[in-house]
């Protein structure tokens, strides 16, 4: 008898502030072990294949510049995409927010005479909670990506952009299939190949009979009106090819000016995300093609807070993200807490700058979920300066009264040289008993607010001013 399935998301409160949620996650040893193993594996693979290309840095520079250009020309590119996709037979819709996008998608499903859809893994549809909306209006959405299927069967929430079930190991996945998949084979082992086979059998009939599919897109090419979906398993190809009706929900930031720009992004994305030279399958389609694939093709261009991000000169670079998840895999914070603690569909470093911008006023604690070590910036294939945006958002965000008072006090002292010198002297004298140890573990309140999660270094015996004065003599 396999153990009872306890979804991680049921233990880690989604609405709690990050420090609280993170503390719960840190107390789950199996979760931490699974994350450390998986992120360690992918880090090594990524470094290996990125290192193979001697033009990796020029590629990053170009990708960052193309994305900046797209942001500056967003209205014209969106209209160009709409014109070309429409000319190729697609129906292009616009959605201001999640509710509008979900309503349009549900209407299309109904008009197609269906009450269920198969889904390609898509961050945009997670962001707008399409599955939940569909369920509320009596439609069913079946996830077909292996990791999404695992999460859906476990009644859990995704914890990673690329591998939503990264927090489960093979044995736990076996248990989930065994207990929650009606047609799971008897005696299923935890061999990854056996688990993949079980998923194939489970979904095959559904793929071959589905009337409607819902997807996102990795890229939307303005010049041709084409959409691009990058995947591994073939579930994407199944959804994009077999049904009669296809609905793709695409964030407006996914636009690329021209088809040839794919020569940049399709080198960077697979190497950064799964650490492969190329992902097994990439599908490109432009409207509808007679006799080949869906004939009723819809594209929903989604805003849902993106134009708000666009308005922030520093913050808008977050819209360059191509959802590779390399920043999650190198982040020392993510590796220890996992994705659920962030309380948003975009976790990790990119989530820490995207979530508070997409939903202003919420997630203001996320820009602090970072040590500003900068590893995320180094691996980002589109060179988003995540630490810069984190600091920017910290400055913009709300500050507690205590912190404001402390900073106000510090400012008053620092603005008066004699006061500042006296304060330094007092600190040197006051910390004398700890000089040998070099740091203080605990300060009395209100200083304890600072030392609860940090050590306070003891001021040096001689400060720079004294040293300089001495040297001048």
């Amino acid at each position: 008898m396999s153990p009872e399935i306890v979804p991680a998301a049921s233990l880690i409160p989604a609405d709690a502030p990050f420090p609280k949620a993170a503390k719960v996650a840190l107390g789950m040893p199996q979760l931490r072990k699974n994350l450390a193993h998986a992120t360690g594996t992918i880090r090594a693979k990524r470094a290996n294949v990125a290192g193979e290309l001697d033009d990796w840095e020029p590629l990053r520079d170009t990708a960052a510049a193309i994305k900046a250009d797209v942001q500056h020309r967003l209205p014209e590119l969106a209209v160009e995409f709409e014109r070309n996709a429409t000319a190729a037979g697609a129906h292009v819709h616009w959605a201001r927010d999640a509710q509008e996008a979900n309503a349009i998608a549900a209407r299309i499903v109904r008009e197609a005479g269906a009450d269920e859809v198969v889904k390609v893994k898509s961050m945009a549809t997670q962001e707008i909670e399409l599955n939940e909306h569909f369920e509320a209006v009596g439609l069913k959405a079946f996830e077909t990506d292996l990791a999404e299927l695992i999460v859906q069967l476990a009644e859990d929430r995704p914890s990673h952009i690329l591998v939503p079930a990264i927090h489960y190991n093979r044995t736990e996945i076996r248990d989930i299939f065994d207990q929650r998949m009606s047609d799971a084979p008897k005696g299923l082992t935890d061999e990854p190949a056996a688990l993949a086979e079980a998923a194939r059998q489970h979904l095959r009939r559904r793929f071959l009979s589905a009337k409607v599919a819902v997807s996102g897109a990795n890229f939307a090419v303005a010049e041709t009106g084409s959409l691009v979906v990058v995947e591994s398993e073939g579930n994407g190809r199944m959804c994009l090819t077999m049904p009669q009706t296809l609905i793709s929900i695409v964030g407006i930031e996914k636009l690329l000016p021209s088809f040839s720009d794919l020569e940049v992004f399709m080198q960077l994305l697979p190497r950064s995300s799964t650490g492969e030279r190329m992902n097994p399958y990439t599908s490109v389609w432009t409207g509808a093609r007679e006799g080949d694939g869906p004939q009723d093709v819809h594209v929903i261009l989604l805003d849902n807070g993106r134009t708000g991000v666009l308005a922030d000169e520093v913050g808008r670079q977050a819209l360059s993200c191509i959802r590779c998840s390399a920043c999650l895999n190198v982040c020392p914070v993510y590796e220890r807490t996992g994705g659920h603690a962030y309380g948003h569909v975009y976790p990790g470093p990119i989530g820490a700058i995207l979530a508070p911008q997409l939903e202003p006023g919420r997630h203001d604690d996320l820009p602090y979920a970072s040590s500003l070590c900068g590893a995320c910036y180094e691996v980002c294939p589109v060179k988003i300066n995540i630490p810069e945006v984190l600091v920017h958002l910290r400055q913009q965000g709300p500050h507690q009264a205590g912190e404001r008072a402390a900073m106000g006090g510090a400012k008053a002292v620092m603005a008066r040289p004699r006061l500042w010198r006296a304060a330094l002297k007092a600190a040197r004298l006051g910390s004398m008993p700890w000089r040998r140890k070099g740091f203080l573990r605990r300060l009395p309140w209100p200083g304890s607010k600072w030392t609860v999660s940090r050590d306070l270094p003891v001021p040096p015996k001689e400060d720079f001013r004294d040293w300089w004065k001495e040297r001048q003599r």
Binding site: L240, Q267, R277
Partner: protein, 201 residues
């Protein structure tokens, strides 16, 4: 014109407002590589990548029969060259086959539009000898013929060879997943066996 703006009008207006005073972004630099060093053995590199993906590689027209293995029924695009239909299998041209028909096929035999050595990628664009997307997806075994002149070193060289607005599938090895502990496992929903037949000029 109605008083309430449509979603389209409103989103475009929001974009313009957000970009007010943002000016223009600089023209992107293009310092990256667009081809391999001259003299690189691109066929050897392609084979190396394909084998790494656990695809099987064969040489010459006659090896098509071996690549098909013991497949009994093989779907082919209606315009597949006659002299590629080698071996003892029954070759079924795709003239309005149903999904169920395709599901009953043991294999599919097609050509391709281009192949990229650096990443081991074979590209289909619904052109000559390739057929519609479903035929290379539903059967569990795909045999694809690549002519020497279709192999290029670099992705940037392959893109101009494609019909840009035709439905495309770029294939790099058989179906795989990395969703369990981030280890690559071959064989999920797409064809679990990929055989590549290389034709010399």
């Amino acid at each position: 014109m109605s008083a309430t703006p449509t979603a389209r009008e409103e989103i475009l207006a929001r974009m313009r407002r957000a970009l007010d005073g943002a000016g223009e972004a600089p023209v992107p630099p293009r310092e990256y590589r667009r081809s391999l060093e001259t003299g690189a053995d691109i066929t050897a590199m392609l084979i190396d990548r394909l084998v790494d993906y656990k695809a099987n590689v064969h040489h010459g027209l006659a090896s098509i029969a071996a690549a098909l293995g013991d497949a009994q029924r093989v779907v082919v695009p209606a315009d597949l060259p006659e002299d590629w239909r080698l071996g003892g299998a029954e070759f079924v041209p795709d003239t309005e086959l149903s999904t169920a028909d395709l599901d009953g096929m043991d294999a599919v035999l097609t050509g391709c539009a281009a192949a990229v050595a650096v990443s081991g990628t074979i590209m289909l664009d619904a052109g000559a000898a390739q057929g519609r997307r479903a035929i290379t997806l539903v059967p569990d075994h795909h045999v694809v013929v690549v002519r020497r002149d279709q192999i290029v070193g670099h992705l940037a060289e392959a893109l101009p060879m494609l019909d840009r607005t035709a439905p495309q599938t770029w294939i790099s090895g058989p179906s795989a997943t990395s969703d369990i502990e981030l280890q690559r496992v071959e064989g999920v929903h797409g064809p679990r066996r990929l055989d590549v037949v290389l034709l010399e000029d």
